[in-house]
């Protein structure tokens, strides 16, 4: 499965594991909020489009959007984590550890916050054609 392949791929990237260790899990993020559980990454799959079409019809490709929510207790922690995840995902071409073959991954960043809170979140939207 593609999400598992991406998770394995991310956990093999030193720039990512240097920040989160192995704290990468499906949503929701850990309920306990302290420095032993954050920063962390929680992911979800909003869409998996079964068929993609070119102008002359379907070519049998698949498209999945995976959102990696990068949480941190400080703004910069979350931002740096998201940039690290984005850097290793954006433009990735090749075969993931689970055997899935990917076309170039399109990754984009967005951030959110809550006034008065000490938790920040940057989201990395990875659109994978496979």
């Amino acid at each position: 499965m593609l999400p598992e392949g991406l998770v394995t791929y991310l956990l093999a990237q030193p720039t990512v594991t240097a920040i989160i260790g192995d704290r990468l899990q499906p949503n929701p993020p850990p309920e306990q909020v302290d420095s032993t559980t954050y920063p962390c990454v929680a992911y979800t799959v909003p869409s998996d489009v079964p068929q993609e079409r070119a102008l002359d019809g379907s070519y049998g490709g698949l498209q999945m959007r995976i959102v990696f929510d990068c949480f941190g207790l400080r703004f910069l922690d979350a931002a740096n984590l998201a940039r690290a995840v984005n850097a290793v995902l954006d433009g990735f071409i090749g075969t993931l550890p689970d055997g899935t073959v990917c076309s170039p991954i399109e990754a984009t960043l967005s951030s959110r916050f809550d006034d008065g809170s000490r938790i920040y979140c940057w989201s990395v939207h990875a659109i994978v054609h496979y």
Partner: protein
């Protein structure tokens, strides 16, 4: 803001064909085509939007919406050059044709749009201070209040709706545009060439 979806399509070739039509007809055709594309996306958005948004953990300042109401507030808004739209406290002229699909604006509180934005992107759960919490400051939220905080993940249903409907939406848009241009130019001859020869791919 991701509480609405913008559909932007490169239509230069079609605009050339449209340019041969009267201005009023041109705007009307573009409006109908954008509406057709937006309707496809709207259908997907209504399907993907959460039925219930009255989570127990929704912030107090957000009005809880009855079940299904967020879906009912989903709407489309077509804008073509010549239209006036609200921009800040004033109005501005639309420069490019586009269709917006999202939660209907209901000023001044705009509760459905706010709920839709929070449901889509998630929020950080905080708690107001209380008398039972001596470390908290009354009237403050979040870490100043000393309340528990925890991130609530977003549902990302706008992105899902866009992903699953974008192709069909563009197909619907181009289909209407092509057929309406064909209807309007039928019987008209042009000295240099014929706009009905435009290849729509």
């Amino acid at each position: 803001m991701s509480d609405e979806i913008d559909l932007v399509i490169d239509t230069r070739e079609l605009e050339e064909a449209l340019g041969k039509l009267a201005v009023r007809v041109r705007g009307q055709i573009m409006r109908e085509a954008l509406q057709a594309g937006g309707d496809v996306m709207l259908e997907a958005l209504v399907e993907c939007a959460p039925e219930r948004t009255d989570d127990a953990e929704m912030p107090e300042e957000l009005f809880p919406l009855p079940a299904g109401l967020l879906k009912e507030f989903m709407t489309t808004e077509v804008q073509v050059p010549g239209d006036s739209i609200r921009s800040g406290k004033g109005y501005s002229q639309v420069q490019k044709p586009r269709v917006k699909v999202g939660v209907q604006a209901t000023p001044p509180v705009n509760a459905p749009a706010r709920v839709g934005y929070w449901q889509n992107n998630g929020w950080i759960l905080t708690r107001h201070a209380s008398r039972s919490n001596p470390n908290g400051k009354r009237g403050k939220r979040g870490w100043k209040a000393g309340g528990q905080i925890r991130p609530i993940p977003g549902k990302h249903f706008f992105e899902k709706a866009f992903d699953i409907s974008a192709q069909a939406s563009v197909d619907a848009f181009l289909g209407v545009l092509q057929s309406r241009i064909f209807d309007e130019t039928e019987g008209i001859s042009y000295p240099e060439n014929n706009s009905r020869d435009v290849d729509f791919g």
